[in-house]
């Protein structure tokens, strides 16, 4: 059930270069269950900036939830200024997340996260590990100062880190690591070129990808974030990233 709530800031701390971890408390957390869903956040009062910001849910806890965002433009800079006790207008939970149940107990799941695509992997890893799935996380960043959640993810299984400039972990892309591993299922979230590479690599029998797209409403009404389907790539059939996704099975939509 989608609802709007003024959630309270529990903490808002910088965990890497321009990457912030915001913990919010609210009844909304009780409505969250699926990893990979997102919330739509109004960063300030008034009408500038006007639109909400879609931010994926990193962790669902009892009475609180965590979101992680990159301080990039005016909106996220305003969000970075929030201090404990302040309230944040949140709409959610939105979208369809990762089908954790597709990974069977005893099997191996590889979780691939790139940059701000890493956060939803935390809740997913938590749930998969709880279900008895063997979890391997591969997380990729531009550079050493951008790395986050390596330690947090290591609570649930092996973690491999790649940086583009080689300043931390393995030099290169997440797919360079993925090439040497075997899995029954792959879950990925990150920049579109990364998702394309993961999809094209056919690393497992089943692959699920979380897409990113500019959104308006976040609930499926504005048609800002549509994409074509693979079986009708130039036609009229479409999926909305916000409400049909953001998670799709590899081969479902054109990315």
């Amino acid at each position: 059930m989608i609802r709007q709530e003024n959630c309270k800031v529990v903490s808002n701390r910088q965990i890497a270069d321009n990457i912030f971890e915001l913990v919010l408390s609210g009844e909304l957390s009780a409505a969250m269950s699926q990893p990979g869903q997102f919330v739509h956040v109004k960063v300030g009062e008034g009408f500038d900036p006007l639109l909400r910001r879609p931010i994926s849910i990193a962790s669902i806890n009892d009475g609180t939830f965590t979101i992680i965002y990159r301080r990039q433009g005016r909106g996220t800079s305003m969000l970075a200024e929030k201090t404990p006790g302040m309230s944040v207008d949140v709409l959610g939970p939105l979208g369809n997340g990762f089908p954790a149940g597709e990974a069977k107990p005893g099997r191996t799941a590889i979780l691939v996260g790139g940059g701000v695509g890493v956060p939803p992997m935390y809740e997913l890893a938590k749930q998969l590990a709880r279900n008895g799935v063997k979890v391997i996380s591969i997380i990729g960043f531009q550079t050493a100062s951008a790395v986050f959640y390596e330690k947090e993810l290591s609570d649930f299984g092996e973690v491999y880190v790649a940086t583009v400039d080689g300043t931390y972990g393995r030099k290169g892309f997440v797919t360079d690591i993925l090439d040497g591993l075997e899995a029954d299922i792959v879950f990925a979230c990150g920049p579109t070129p990364m998702l394309r590479a993961v999809e094209n690599g056919n690393y497992a029998a089943k692959t699920f990808l979380s897409l990113e797209e500019r959104m308006g409403c976040g609930i499926g009404a504005c048609f800002a974030c549509v994409c074509h389907t693979k079986d009708d790539p130039k036609g009229f059939t479409y999926k909305k990233v916000c409400s049909d996704g953001p998670v799709f099975q590899a081969g479902e939509v054109v990315i």
Binding site: I2, Q4, K42, P49, A221, F223, A224, V226, F236, S243
Partner: protein, 313 residues
């Protein structure tokens, strides 16, 4: 009688607040959030004869106090809207205003003829103001003679009253308004979006794949207010006002400018509960202004010789 109920051609409205076309889809998403029967009406997403995918993404870009969109009239086409969306909407006690669009006169006529036969479609909204399609749309809305001729053609086939949605991207909107009134329009809806652009500083290219898009949101409100103020004094058909409405205060301002009902667009994306919120808050404003009925506010800004019963600041 409720202080908010309004009678307009074809429309018996519980209240004068409705979501604007293109900002509410066909209502399915919002029906999960609140009972759509609370709304005065619903202006459904533009329907064209054939399905349209619309423009490539990015389709939206934020602007100070607003947003640009270039969706490009994505819709499932006449047959699907008529056979699936309208019957689904019939479960709600709310009149539908069907926004119709096309590339040619024949497109508009075809969609109007069929859509006006649906039992829950109480009026048509002729979209001659979409700035995001290559043919049709705004081309009809910026030429008074073309607007008039198209209005006449649609009126000839429609079984329900026809409202014409005007574009603000003209130098003399009164001329277009008069033309569609001459063409037989039963009402006017205004304003559609203002044509705009944003450029990405890093790439040096327009952000929208379509390059240009329609500006909406609170930043366009003063333009809408000015245009409704001008048009409402020059035509005798009612106006459903829209353009940046976010609150009950904004609705009051649109009425004072000359509107007889109001539509909420972009704010549905920011606060999906905004329409029921405004409906709930309007009576407070009427009390504050000393109006027994909301229709007393229409055109108050230019009706110099009439006064409300009292004014309580």
């Amino acid at each position: 009688m409720s202080s908010l109920s309004i009678q307009l051609p074809g429309l018996n409205l519980k209240n004068p607040v409705m979501p604007a076309s293109g900002c509410f889809g066909f209502g399915r998403e919002f029906s999960q959030l609140y009972d759509l029967s609370q709304l005065g009406a619903i202006m459904i997403k533009a329907t064209t004869p054939e399905p349209r995918f619309g423009n490539p993404t990015p389709r939206v870009a934020e602007t100070p106090g607003g947003m640009l969109n270039a969706i490009g009239l994505q819709n499932p086409g006449l047959e699907k809207v008529f056979n699936e969306e309208l019957p689904w909407l019939d479960q709600f006690d709310v009149p539908i205003i069907a926004n119709i669009a096309g590339s040619t006169e024949d497109d508009y006529v075809k969609v109007a003829e069929q859509m006006s036969k649906a039992p829950n479609v109480h009026a048509l909204e002729l979209n001659i103001s979409c700035p995001n399609v290559k043919t049709g749309g705004i081309a009809f809305g910026t030429d008074p003679e073309m607007a008039k001729a198209l209005t006449r053609k649609v009126k000839d086939v429609s079984e329900v009253p026809v409202y014409v949605k005007l574009s603000p991207n003209v130098s003399d909107i009164v001329k277009v308004a008069r033309a569609v009134e001459d063409g037989g329009a039963d009402g006017i809806t205004m304003i559609n979006t203002l044509l705009g652009m944003r450029i990405d500083l890093m790439t040096g290219q327009p952000i929208l794949a379509n390059k240009t898009g329609g500006l909406s949101g609170p930043s366009v409100k003063p333009v809408a207010i000015r245009m409704i103020y001008e048009v409402s004094q020059q035509v005798s058909i009612p106006i459903i006002g829209m353009g940046g409405i976010q609150s009950a205060e904004d609705v009051v301002e649109f009425f004072l400018a000359g509107a007889s009902a109001a539509a909420v667009g972009t704010q549905n994306f920011v606060d999906p509960f905004v329409c029921p919120k405004i409906i709930e808050e309007l009576p407070e404003w009427l009390a504050k202004l000393g109006a027994d009925h909301i229709s007393e506010l229409t055109g108050r800004s230019w009706k110099k010789n009439e006064r409300l019963a009292y004014y309580r600041p």
